[in-house]
Symmetry: C2
Subunit: 452 residues, 2 copies
């Protein structure tokens, strides 16, 4: 078969590429290595969000029920994606893709019973990344040293004690998950704070909240090596006892932590289809595929988006990149405004925001004001019993527009939608002050902050 | 004391009036009859939302804990309002207000130990309404015939069987509450559908959902009379047995329903401060205070907002009216765009929306298209296990703007914020299609519908 364009990889970036190509009138194929309709099956964020929500609802007394619940919700998601692709007229190939040359792809079906070659004038690589250990030693599930993959497979949820290396989004979300599941949780981060890229005030509040829940946090710290002892009592936990040899990066002080499980986060490497190395695709220092601002690789008519290009490994960045690459492929111009991409972290409480952070504000910039509101000032947060939380707005006084906004609080995530539109469309804050939001609603927090 | 303006009543309308007056440089007083800081204490919606959320979380095994939880959350809300008023410099009077003349108000403190007279050039009445029976017989708690007031006081939550008269927001929210609390619920509505003012497709879906939960619904029906028998087994329920004599409005067929409790909704009368009758305020046919579009009453420099003027009895209408009346009082022009006020119903699932409904669309209007998306197409709804739900968008094809949007689904409420801004600011839907919302998030449902 011949297509105008083929997309390899069915994650958020690949899906959005394929759908956009089709919308633009291109014949498009999408190749995904999982079972037919298997797109979204192994998407880490999907399963982790289900887990987080299940854990939060205290419905997880019976850990054995979890895989069943996940499967059910995943089935529905799968059906949804299939309908979407079908509607759009995207040809879906289920199998492993190999690049024969820059216009030909070999698709080998899962059980290797079938091989097919398709050709495409343009190819978009959305093959993602895989977790790797950021340390000098690799993950080793047999010893209790794991990455998110083991958890996504539904294992390790019953660990009694877990050390999580990495205090960025992934580490913080898993810390909340395991704390909610009843594990003793120890979080290690090499920077001097959690969520290093996030607004520091909000990150500080998250750190406080996690500590209050009983999560032990050590910043400026990492792991040098470990000793593994088989545990005598096999009934409890996963059978291992790990002694981690850690040290404080600032002062060099050593300390030991005993645990059953060590979860490594924060390391990733590009996943490339076989044959990619023969095309001479330029790579970044870390081995990701190098792209320009239109997501073109060094090889003409080959594009790459999402985790395989490194950078922000977030689903909505991948979606925007997928769309932009598709538009480049149809010779339209489209860039991604990374500065104004919203983020939602499914920690407990949730963290969300967009745009300028306080740290980005120049000290000499008297045109910028920062306004805040507390969740306790919002009746919807109070009726929900959301507890403490905060929103902060970074405002350009001169134009009366919003340059950035960051929030922490239970259910804060959906606040990002209104904030994103306000920031990106430079909507006058006067209009937001007068916006008749429903009362009580969490989004009123934005208006409350503006009143100050 | 002399003020530029005084506001009587500390509900959402009164609070928003007082804060806006103060923001505009007027000296403002707010008089509220509850204990100091008691504003928001008896706001029905606050308590009912807490109850609904508690019931939904299945944390209500012990009904005795509920009043304590409500009190705690209410205390925080109270503190919040007080800080807000203090910040704004509004003088708060705690006591019952009586109108001496059109510029003088007598404030009698709760225990009647103190009387004070304050004068104000302008007065804004935000005294609300009280529930009345919409039937030929009155509420009578001794017989088990109640209004929301009894429930707000924390009583009747343990009723085994309840008949709710009225299938508008209030009736539907209480039906969900009592169903979640384990009562057998029977909902009667005199129109031929629930939520008569709402989009009919969405209302129909709510009706299906409620029926699936086991709530018995009879539309086109009302109650003619009742017989009350004392129940023999006083241990169960509230001690009454009511036999309701009902009939179908369309065909006149009679039917009987037995119940323990009858909750009357849908009837309200204006609450006026003593002395108001002497001022000659014009009244509507239903006895509410008549106002023009600037919320001026028939008496110069007296304004009225919120439930006391009838119309839409919603908190966000009251807030907008309060603000508009304050602006009229400072001689600014400000109208309320009722067509584009969002609504959120805290039923389970939630119902939300804004603007044009399908029924408002002229059959000959080919410029309007309707697009829909299902909650099962949204990954955030799936991870949350939200179940079924739907969003529908009413779009002007000519301008590519949104004229209305309506949704039903768990957690759908906060969707109203983005929709409200898009409708009110006539933002091109092209911009919403390209808006980089976080993934997964419920607000992506809006983009999903636009893709179709």
């Amino acid at each position: 078969m011949k297509y105008d364009a083929a997309v390899i990889g069915g994650g958020p970036g690949g899906l959005s590429s394929a759908l956009e190509l089709s919308r633009k009138g291109f014949s498009a194929a999408l190749i995904e290595k999982r079972t037919p309709g298997g797109i979204a099956i192994n998407q880490g964020y999907f399963i982790s969000k289900v887990l987080l929500d299940l854990a939060r609802d205290d419905n997880t007394d019976n850990l054995e029920e979890i895989p069943g619940i996940i499967n059910l919700r995943r089935e529905t998601a799968r059906t949804g994606w299939n309908i979407k692709l079908q509607e759009a007229g995207v040809a879906v190939y289920s199998g492993k893709a190999g690049l024969i040359d820059k216009n030909k792809i070999e698709v080998i079906s899962r059980k290797e019973e079938k091989k097919e070659v398709i050709s495409a004038e343009r190819i978009i690589l959305a093959t993602g990344n895989r977790p790797v250990s950021p340390l000098d030693f690799p993950a080793d599930p047999a010893k209790g040293i794991i990455t998110y993959r083991e958890i996504m497979a539904g294992n390790w949820l019953d660990t009694k004690k877990i050390v999580i290396l990495g205090g960025d989004v992934e580490g913080c979300e898993f810390a909340c998950l395991f704390q909610q599941l009843g594990s003793e949780v120890f979080l290690l981060e090499q920077e001097n704070r959690l969520l290093p890229g996030c607004d520091s005030e909000i990150a500080g509040l998250l750190e406080e909240k996690l500590a209050l829940k009983g999560i032990k946090i050590k910043t400026s710290s990492t792991i040098e090596s470990f000793n593994c002892f088989k545990k005598e009592d096999k009934k409890n936990g996963n059978g291992s006892r790990l002694q981690l040899n850690c040290y404080n990066i600032d002062n060099g002080a050593f300390f030991e932590v005993e645990t059953e499980t060590l979860l490594l986060t924060g390391g990733a490497e590009a996943v490339l289809p076989p044959g990619a190395e023969n095309l001479g695709l330029a790579r970044t220092e870390e081995g990701f595929i190098e792209v320009d601002s239109s997501f073109s690789t060094s090889v003409e008519n080959i594009y790459a988006v999402g985790d395989v290009i490194g950078g922000i490994a977030s689903a909505n960045a991948a979606i925007m990149e997928g769309k932009a690459a598709a538009r480049s492929a149809v010779r339209e111009n489209c860039k991604v405004d990374y500065q104004n991409l919203p983020y939602v972290f499914f920690t407990s409480p949730q963290v969300t925001g967009i745009g300028l952070r306080e740290v980005d504000v120049d000290d000499n910039n008297s045109n910028i004001s920062i306004k805040r509101a507390e969740f306790t000032e919002n009746l919807r947060a109070l009726t929900l019993g959301s507890g403490e939380g905060k929103i902060k707005l970074i405002i350009s006084e001169k134009d009366n527009i919003l340059l950035g906004a960051h929030a922490i609080g239970e259910s804060a995530g959906e606040l990002h939608a209104l904030l994103t539109l306000v920031v990106r469309e430079k909507i006058s804050l006067k209009k937001i002050e007068d916006l008749p939001l429903a009362h009580p609603s969490l989004n009123e927090l934005i208006k409350r902050a503006l009143e100050k």
